[in-house]
């Protein structure tokens, strides 16, 4: 019974999204504003976590929706909007980072392709590091550390971790958003987990944090 209700709700949501997209492609501004209202918080959260710089976030956010608005004529309305929106956002975020790095003359090493790891490496990393579980009481102290680790993470690891952990995209969707094969999505995700685990442990006490 519950499943049939959910299915019917999903169908109804999907129909209303299709109708919204049809209106958006036809140039209906109200439809565009509704899309913006629908996705603004998700997009903003993704960019905040990815860029961790308010000015860059705001620029990438505006550029994403500007491109969405301008490219409505080429949008295939039978495709789901969300992955497409995140594809634009991820590209805009990368562009923003590159612009900033050129401006700040930050070492290009931060952008280098890291060694991509396997599930065995994830396993070894989880076993080797005793992680103190998330504790509400230490929230403020730890928040800054997490942000620092994320900002130190190579961007290709950072984006995959954000898309997988917070946005819950499937491997196929992540592969589409990032234009990489599914196998690369998986190995990058493994690498991102190991990176984060080691750095977090290093930041909170034990472990050498080498990567």
């Amino acid at each position: 019974m519950t499943n049939s209700i959910n299915t019917s709700e999903n169908h109804s949501n999907s129909s209303s999204e299709n109708e919204l997209l049809r209106r958006y492609v036809a140039g209906d501004k109200d439809a565009f504003e509704e899309i913006l209202t629908r996705y603004k918080d998700q997009l903003y959260a993704f960019l905040r976590r990815f860029l961790n710089n308010q000015q860059l976030v705001e620029d990438a956010f505006q550029d994403t929706f500007l491109q969405l608005y301008q490219s409505r004529k080429t949008f295939e309305k039978d495709k789901p909007l969300r992955p497409w929106l995140f594809t634009i956002a991820a590209n805009k975020a990368r562009d923003a980072l590159r612009k900033q790095q050129r401006h700040d003359t930050v070492s290009i090493a931060a952008m280098a392709e890291p060694t991509e790891l396997s599930i065995d490496d994830v396993m070894n990393s989880l076993k080797a590091y005793e992680i103190t579980p998330y504790d509400e009481a230490e929230k403020t102290e730890h928040a800054e550390r997490v942000r620092r680790i994320i900002s130190e993470m190579p961007e290709n690891l950072r984006e995959i971790l954000m898309l997988a952990y917070f946005e819950q995209f499937s491997y196929k969707q992540m592969a589409d958003v990032l234009s990489i094969p599914i196998g690369t999505v998986k190995s990058r995700l493994h690498t991102a987990i190991v990176f984060f685990t080691k750095k977090w442990k290093s930041a909170t006490g034990d472990g050498d944090g080498k990567f």
């Binding site: 918080d41 705001e58 065995d120 396993m123 997490v146 997988a164 917070f166 819950q168 987990i193 984060f196």
Partner: protein
């Protein structure tokens, strides 16, 4: 954890990130119910990545209004200068309309309040619909893993009772003892967790089973059997995230014949006071009054969404219900409103799960 195959690890990782298909999800759930290595792998994965939750604050996830306005203004001004003419600047029109409304329509406090409440409700509804259901499946996985823990402990309790003339595990404890003082090394038995420790010490249950995967403060004991048997109790609250039927005085509580709650995710009423290590040296904690909120709240193990409860017939259920039997709240003593950590129910029918 070592006994997992590469394929099993892949499935568990996919399940964690909600990238598993239906078949893989079923395999993952089966592993989490029956395979200690899988539970450990999953638990470590959770512990390793849960600090990312720090990036989930309100500031991080709520797009500010000014950014929406700037974005729309930028888009419409671009489109005005592009090939598609726009007859009216929509943002300016909306702002003008809004300012007129403020000047002419907000005539009374109550109307303003009603509008504010309406907007707040709309925001809440929109949040409920559009904020990604990012943690729902993960939360469900913790519930399943937690149920598996309680099922294992239930089997241990049944075996213990079978080997001990039908009695629950119990050490000598006097009424009025501080049932919350987990890890106290005094010879006199105190904490209500000492009874359960008998299951670990005598090999009826593994210590890992006493840590709920959903509990933020939970930690797994890393001691060998030789070290475990020397301990009188769980080392501290981090190693046990469940509450157990309070046993005292008779010290030989019979295993209940009818299906009654025996154990559950940690009692939420005493969560805050038990975080303060300084009160461990005292016989009582600062008095806690059970206000309306505490009388309704569910265990924090699963972010107050509900709690797993183990019944004496071996069933384990996830529920938001706290009241069972004859209007008995399992997290309180009947007709008692203020607690200092040494209370005891007056009747056997009044189940009180602590700490």
């Amino acid at each position: 954890m070592d006994t997992l195959t590469k394929e099993q690890r892949d499935i568990l990782l996919d399940y964690y990130f909600e990238c598993a298909n239906q078949n893989e999800s079923e395999i993952a759930r089966g592993l989490l119910e029956n395979h200690q290595g899988a539970v450990e792998f999953f638990s470590r994965l959770y512990d390793s990545l849960s600090p990312l939750e720090h990036l989930n604050t309100e500031n991080d996830t709520n797009c500010p209004d000014h950014l929406v306005e700037k974005t729309l203004a930028g888009i419409y001004s671009q489109s005005q200068s592009s090939d598609e003419p726009v007859s009216v600047n929509r943002l300016e029109k909306l702002l003008a309309e809004e300012s007129q409304k403020v000047a002419t329509k907000r005539s009374s406090f109550w109307k303003g309040l009603a509008e504010t409440v309406g907007v707040a409700a709309a925001i809440l509804i929109m949040s409920g619909i559009f904020v990604p259901v990012s943690r729902n499946m993960r939360a469900h996985a913790w519930q399943t893993a937690c149920q598996a823990n309680l099922s294992k402990i239930s089997r241990g309790l049944t075996q213990y009772a079978g080997d001990n003339q039908g009695f629950l595990p119990a050490v000598a404890t006097k009424a009025g003892s501080p049932w919350w003082r987990v890890g106290s090394e005094g010879q006199e038995s105190q904490s209500n967790t000492r009874h359960l420790w008998l299951l670990v010490r005598n090999g009826y249950a593994e210590p890992e089973a006493f840590t709920c995967q959903g509990c933020a403060r939970g930690k797994t004991i890393k001691l060998d059997r030789g070290q475990l048997v020397k301990l009188p109790d769980f080392p501290n609250r981090r190693y046990i995230s469940y509450s157990f039927k309070l046993i005292s005085d008779s010290n030989r509580a019979a295993y209940p014949k009818s299906a009654t709650p025996l154990m559950s995710d940690a009692n939420p009423i005493f969560e805050s006071c038990l975080k303060t290590q300084t009160c461990l040296s005292k016989g009582e904690f600062e008095p806690i009054r059970v206000c309306e909120k505490l009388a309704r709240i569910n265990s924090y193990n699963h972010r107050t969404k509900g709690q797993n409860i183990m019944f004496s017939d071996g069933a384990v259920r996830f529920t938001t219900q706290r009241i069972f039997g004859q209007n008995d709240d399992i997290f309180t003593v009947r007709d008692l409103n203020i607690y200092r950590g040494n209370e005891k129910p007056n009747t056997e029918a009044d189940i009180f799960l602590v700490p």
